[in-house]
Structure formats: structure tokens, C-alpha cells
């Protein structure tokens, strides 16, 4: 067979099952876009490469399968960097194919040249610079294998323009890249882990995104239920375990419930599954679960003993190890421990809002939840609204909360919601945002209009960078430097000008009915909800403190 590098790339992507490419064309990737014209793959034109990266993330996060985005060289690549770094920290499999100036021009400061390879080393799982078109035969499938296997993550493939245009001859297509995870857990270790669980009196599970990415939710449920081990979750693990189950013991950490952090102080065994002991989850690491021995199971060997020395650990795919572990632990009802958990839940729940106004963030979230289809997928931006969502919106299924946990990227919500909508056309997508975050990728309203999915955005609008303002109030002597906006646009009006339905909730006679309509009618809708500047997210662990030292 004989074809150009660009044609080969599209053929290889088709063979990987890719049917949509998100991106923006430019000089250095035009050959690639030209090849798309002859391909079964359709494209989504984003309005900024960061948006393109997050749209790809929305597809990947909501399905677990790798998604692909295209950018041109130079600013195209640098614009995508935030979305790539975000995918690295939350272990999201995206493949970013960046155009590069022709190999002969590289290193000459050519127009729109930037060292994409060098820039993306620390923010990718791995990156490639393709030097000749025949290398594509190996690199493209390999990139997919890498993005999916082990701990998932982003892969960048930088492809110079001349590699896209020159001809390549080959006999047969390579096999598509596949997920490659070991399947046989070390049974000796698993038995020791089971013994440790069986002999503990107050075990607790600390779960995270690894449960979801390894598709271990059913195994986790069986394990927790069989031995009565309460489940605490990091932000990334929400949805992996049904939130209304008595065994569910909440989100831990900086904005976790009091009862959750107290229970962790009491536990004698911490079983950490698919987590990385992030500082927002553990608080001061030395004082995290201070009375507990630690068992850690993770697929990434570099996470073991990174923050907390383990007593026992197992490196490998959670799905296989938990499946075995379930049979090794004894049935146990742990009535004392479960009684303690129930009483702590009752005594130290999340604070109830002081008002019953629908314009209080907590009431608003409950209203949205009550009116939303239960299969809806929720994305958030970053800030107070994100933490309230994590605290008060019940997530009962994996991949129904898509949020920027590790990097904490404002501007994440809208494009990620668009990606989730592309991958889940039969489901309502709800983006919960704030006025600060929403402005950071507001240009993607144009992409939203192009596609017109069933997507509802709620902007909790307090005219400020709320979580910054909160920290200034609590820890910086109420010096509100640069956190209050001098002006703010009319978000509902802006949406209308993009051709999207806009609702200003305070102008509605029946705001509850308006919420219902926004979630029920087909097509996209942006709802602006003014909220008070004074509502803070509580409890809050001061940065650097132990989790038991909660304010509020």
C-alpha cells in the first residue's frame, strides 16, 4: 500500500475505532485535515485548543475510551497544554496530535514553531516526535496502548508537516493498539491483605478514580458489603459507590464532611484502592488516618509508598485483585463499627443551609438533582460550586461526575460537558459552573451551538472568585484583593447572542419551573443563578492542617 503520512494517520485512527476528531486546523496540520475529508471520521471544530482538549476529555472521561484531538503547531499546541496537564493529573486517556513545522525548519524559530515535544514531557504519560512517516505505523497504535494501559493518561504525538505530506509504502496495517493490563494478582499478597482485613476491628476503604478507570465498582460493592467496610471517597472516586448506601461514608479531605474525617481518625486499617493520597484528600499526610495500618492497591508502582508508607501493598489492576479479594475476606457484620459510623453520620453531617431560598447553592443543587433525569452526567468547573456539588449532589453511578480534581482547572466544565454530550447523545448533560470559571472557556458556547446537544449550564453567580474570596476571608484577614469582579456580563444574554436559550433565574416568576424546563426541553440552555457572596463552603480544613482541624 502507498499513501501519504496524513492518510495513514486517519486510517490508523479509524482502525482504533475513532469516529470523531476534536480540534482546530492551522498551517501545520492542514494535510491531516485534508485527509479527514476522505475518511469516515467526522470532526468537531472547537473555538480554542484548550476547549478541544477538554471536549476530548469529556468523551474519554464519560466512556473510559481514548479520545483524539488535533491542534496545529505553536499556539495551537501551547493552547492545548492546560487540557493535557489536566488529563495527566486525573489519568484521562486522550491522544493529542499536534502539527509541527517541517523537519527541515525545526530548530530555526520558524513561523508557529514551538518545542511541543519538550513542552509536553512533564505533562504527558508519554510523548512522541515522529521523524519519518513509516514510524507512524508503530507510534499511532502504541500511543493508544499507552493511553489505555496501566494507569491511563494523555499521549502527545507531534507530527511535522512534511511527515504528513510525504509518501509511505507498507505491506499491511499494524494491529490496533489495545489495553494491556496484567491479569494475575499475587495471590500470596492478596491472602495476607485479606487476613489483615479479617483481623481488623475498624477497617475503612479509601477509594479514588482508579476504581472508576479500572471498572471495579461492582467488585468494590461486593467487598464493602461482605465484610462491612465503610467506603470513603476522594473527589475523583465519587459515583463509584452508591451515595445512599449506609456503607458510604462520604468524601474525605479539605471539604469533606466532619463525620468522614472523624471516622478516618478512628479507623485501625485503611484500605486504599486506586488513590494517590493527594494532599486535598489527606490533609497533613503525617496525621492522616493516624491510628491505621495502611494497605494500598494501585496499578501505578510509583504511587506505592509515595506519600504514606504502606504495611502491605499490591501493584496491579484493581478489577482483578478486588475480584479475588472478595472471596478471601470473611463475611462480617461489624455491628459496633457500623453503629459508630451511623452515629457519626448523624452527629456530624454536612451543614444544612440557613435559608430555604432556591438561590442558596445547596438548595439549588438539590432542586437540580430532583428535576434531572437520573442518568444525567454532571460536569463542574472549579471553585465553591464544585465543592458544593461534590458535597450535596448525590452521585450513584461511575462516570456521572466529571470534574477537574488534580489540576483544578477553571474553564473545564463547559467543553468537558460538550464532550460528554458528543459521546452520550441519549443523556442530559448538566454543567455546574461559576461566573469566574465559565468566562474562562466561554468561547465554546459557539461549539455548543454548532452541536445543539441536550446540555444545561447552571452558573452560580456571586460576582467573584468565590473560593479565593473565601480563603481571603478565613486566612488573609478579609483582604479581598483581586477576587471581586468589577463587572460581569449578562450570562443569559450572552447565551442568547450565541443562539442558545438563556434564563436569568431571578427574573423568572416560577424559578423551579424554569429549572425544570431548562432540564427538560431539547437543546442547550444556560441558566444564570445569582447567589450570595457570603455563602462559604464548609467544613474546610486549612491548607497544611490535619483533616480533623475543620472550620465550619
Amino acid at each position: 500500500m502507498k499513501m501519504t503520512g496524513a492518510e495513514l494517520i486517519t486510517r490508523l485512527l479509524e482502525r482504533q475505532g475513532i469516529n470523531k476528531i476534536i480540534g482546530i486546523p492551522g498551517s501545520s496540520n492542514l494535510p491531516l485535515y485534508s485527509a479527514l475529508a476522505e475518511s469516515a471520521i467526522s470532526y468537531v471544530l472547537a473555538r480554542h485548543e484548550q476547549g478541544a482538549g477538554f471536549i476530548a476529555q469529556g468523551i474519554a472521561r464519560s466512556t473510559g475510551r481514548p479520545a483524539v484531538c488535533f491542534t496545529t503547531s505553536g499556539p495551537g499546541a501551547t493552547n492545548a497544554i492546560t487540557a493535557i496537564a489536566d488529563a495527566k493529573l486525573d489519568s484521562v486517556p486522550i491522544i493529542v496530535i499536534t502539527g509541527q513545522v517541517a523537519t527541515g525548519m525545526m530548530g530555526t524559530d520558524a513561523f508557529q514553531e514551538v518545542d511541543t515535544y519538550g513542552l509536553t514531557i512533564p505533562i504527558t504519560k508519554h510523548n512522541f516526535l515522529v521523524r519519518t512517516p513509516d514510524e507512524l505505523l508503530k507510534i499511532i497504535p502504541e500511543a493508544f496502548t499507552l493511553a489505555m494501559s496501566g494507569r491511563p493518561g494523555p499521549v502527545v504525538i507531534d507530527i511535522p508537516r512534511d511527515v504528513q505530506t510525504s509518501m509511505v509504502e507498507f505491506d499491511m496495517y499494524p494491529a490496533p493498539g489495545e489495553k494491556n493490563n496484567g491479569t494475575h494478582p499475587d495471590m500470596d499478597r492478596l491472602e495476607r491483605i485479606a487476613q489483615k482485613i479479617n483481623s481488623s476491628r475498624k477497617p475503612i476503604l479509601y477509594i479514588g478514580g482508579g476504581i472508576i478507570s479500572s471498572d471495579t465498582c461492582a467488585g468494590l460493592y461486593a467487598l464493602s458489603k461482605r465484610n462491612s467496610i465503610p467506603v470513603t471517597s476522594s473527589l475523583m472516586g465519587l459515583g463509584a459507590f452508591p451515595s445512599d448506601n449506609p456503607l458510604f461514608s462520604g468524601m474525605l479531605g479539605m471539604h469533606g464532611a466532619r463525620y468522614t474525617n472523624y471516622i478516618l481518625d478512628e479507623a485501625d486499617l485503611l484500605v486504599a484502592l486506586g488513590v494517590r493520597f493527594d494532599d486535598r484528600a489527606t490533609g497533613k499526610a503525617m496525621e492522616f488516618a493516624p491510628n491505621a495500618s495502611v494497605i494500598h492497591i494501585d496499578i501505578d508502582q510509583a504511587e506505592i509508598d509515595k506519600i504514606r508508607e504502606t504495611d502491605l501493598n499490591l501493584i496491579g489492576d484493581l478489577r482483578h485483585s478486588i475480584k479475588e479479594l472478595v472471596h478471601l475476606v470473611e463475611e462480617n457484620r461489624r455491628e459496633d463499627w457500623m453503629g459508630y459510623i451511623a452515629s457519626m453520620k448523624k452527629e456530624f453531617p454536612y451543614p444544612e443551609p440557613q435559608s430555604d431560598s432556591l438561590f442558596h447553592p445547596v438548595n439549588l443543587l438539590r432542586a437540580i438533582h430532583s428535576r434531572a433525569d437520573k442518568k444525567s452526567i454532571v460536569t463542574t468547573d472549579v471553585g465553591q460550586h464544585q465543592m458544593w456539588t461534590a458535597q450535596y449532589y448525590p452521585f450513584n453511578h461511575p462516570r456521572t461526575l466529571l470534574t477537574s480534581g488534580g489540576l483544578g482547572t477553571m474553564g473545564f466544565g463547559l467543553p468537558t460537558a460538550i464532550g460528554a454530550a458528543i459521546a452520550n447523545p441519549d443523556r442530559r448533560i448538566i454543567c455546574i459552573s461559576g461566573d469566574g470559571s465559565f468566562l474562562m472557556n466561554i468561547q465554546e458556547l459557539a461549539t455548543l451551538k454548532d452541536l445543539e446537544p441536550d446540555l444545561t449550564v447552571f452558573i452560580m453567580n456571586n460576582n467573584s472568585l468565590g473560593l479565593v474570596r473565601q480563603q481571603q476571608e478565613l486566612f488573609f484577614g478579609k483582604k479581598y484583593v483581586s477576587s471581586l469582579f468589577g463587572s460581569n456580563p449578562d450570562f443569559a444574554g450572552i447565551a442568547e447572542k450565541f443562539g442558545i436559550r438563556g434564563i436569568n433565574l431571578e427574573l423568572e416568576n416560577d424559578p423551579m419551573r424554569a429549572i425544570e424546563r431548562s432540564l427538560g426541553e431539547t437543546g442547550p440552555c444556560v441558566v444564570n443563578v445569582p447567589v450570595s457572596l457570603d455563602d462559604n463552603v464548609f467544613p474546610m480544613v486549612p491548607p497544611g492542617s490535619a483533616n480533623r482541624e475543620m472550620i465550619g
Binding site: 515535544y117 512533564p122 508519554h126 499507552l146 510509583a302 506505592i304
Partner: protein, 99 residues
Amino acid sequence: MNTIVIELLVNNHPGVMSHITGLIMRRACNIEGILCGTVGDGNTSRIYLLMKDDWRIPRIVRQLKNLYDVIEVVPRDDCDTAVFDRIPELIGTGVISPV
């Protein structure tokens, strides 16, 4: 100074050294010496990194193992590190005078 040598077997192509030194640099560690050369047919290289031995080394070794082009990593405290002091002598005395 307590030193340790990290021995690596890596794929030999452009960018590999950058991945390795970048990973170490990002963890605020200094590399005191580097020796590197190809092995056999030139598809792989062996790298010896001379580092200060502290609590970060085991973590760095685990993270190096995760790099795509790193085939093997072994921290070694059984090495004669004198060779790192004799590089100018072995290669030909340096032409740049120390400042």
C-alpha cells in the same frame, strides 16, 4: 556527601535523556555526574547517574521505572564513583578552565 549511582538501561533515541533529567530536575534533585554510552548494536544505552543519596532516591527510581524508554533501573551503592572525578583525564583534559 553520601552518593549513590543510578544505573539505567534505556532505548537510544533523541529525547530519552531529556525525559530522565527532566524527571529528576522537577523533583529539585541535582545530578552530580552523568556517564552514558551505547550498548551492543546501538539500540540501547546505559546511563550512570551520580546522585546525592537521600530519601528521595527510592521515589525517583520508581518514577524512572515508569518512563516509556527506560528498560531497567537499578540504584547501586556498590560502585566505585572515582571514575566521575577522572572524566577529564579519561577523555582528554578539559579545555574550558573552571571558573
